[in-house]
Symmetry: C2
Subunit: 182 residues, 2 copies
Amino acid sequence: MMPRMKFCSVCGGDVSYRVPDGDNRERAICNICGTIHYKNPLIVVGCLVEHDDKILLCKRSIEPRYGYWTVPAGFMELGESSAEGAARETREEALAEVELGRLYASVDVIEVGQLHLYYTARLKGSFGAGEETLETRLFAKDEIPWDDIAFRSGKFALERFVEDGGRDNTVHIHELRRVKSY
Amino acid sequence: MMPRMKFCSVCGGDVSYRVPDGDNRERAICNICGTIHYKNPLIVVGCLVEHDDKILLCKRSIEPRYGYWTVPAGFMELGESSAEGAARETREEALAEVELGRLYASVDVIEVGQLHLYYTARLKGSFGAGEETLETRLFAKDEIPWDDIAFRSGKFALERFVEDGGRDNTVHIHELRRVKSY
């Protein structure tokens, strides 16, 4: 996680932490130019990719959780929709093109300041291992390596998906509050 | 919107814009300490508050869109879930306590780098005008001031809500791409 801000990114002046007028939270405020710097939750987007009743998972080649299996997912970028971001992350991590389905789960991972959104998707062709991946594999629903899933939010989405097959139209909402995000 | 970063918030050094190794997008990178600074979409959370078949709207007392009507909504903060943020914004802008329902709409407002999430809610007691509000009012569904709604994403959510009464279980997904967010 990014260290606490010490210097203003606009003018390079040092910042103090205090509650701005009309606000109710402490923010980093520049002592020179007065810019108020807000820090807000980040969005992670990913795909539950299905093919022949199996689910696509990636074995991570990077920390955190090196060697653990994950639903392809990553930080949403500026200039894309959340659905596009989910498809892009799947392209990057699993080298897979997908046909996106619908928003399936929204998981607040409060202690790390993240909101994780998972979309359903269907595999359109081949797959492989992207730069952040050791191995990509399709798992039958009774073969999912539950003890080796990298992150709790992905595990939550996978569990619901295995239960209802993604056919239920509900968006599954969940909140995770423990300090550890995985 | 925050000006483009010129100085590193960690060490105060100046930054250059280039694509880091293993990445595919330009980022601000500190020329002194090497910190990579990411900029990602922000989350706005709000409530479609119902009471006696009417909907609660707030007339804005601040720019942008001073004097226009809005669904109570604002930036999600660290340390809260998206649902809690939606309830907090309603408390701050409409001085109203609500019983939260479900995630109703997810709107990507791509050109401003925001994701807007709207929850259904029921009014639990009184309401009033918070600091960012001139006036709060309950509107019957055929009285909604459609030409004076502040933001397109809120208008989208309101339109769907008036159509289906919030009874449909679907989460309404929408993408807005024009430069103007309202």
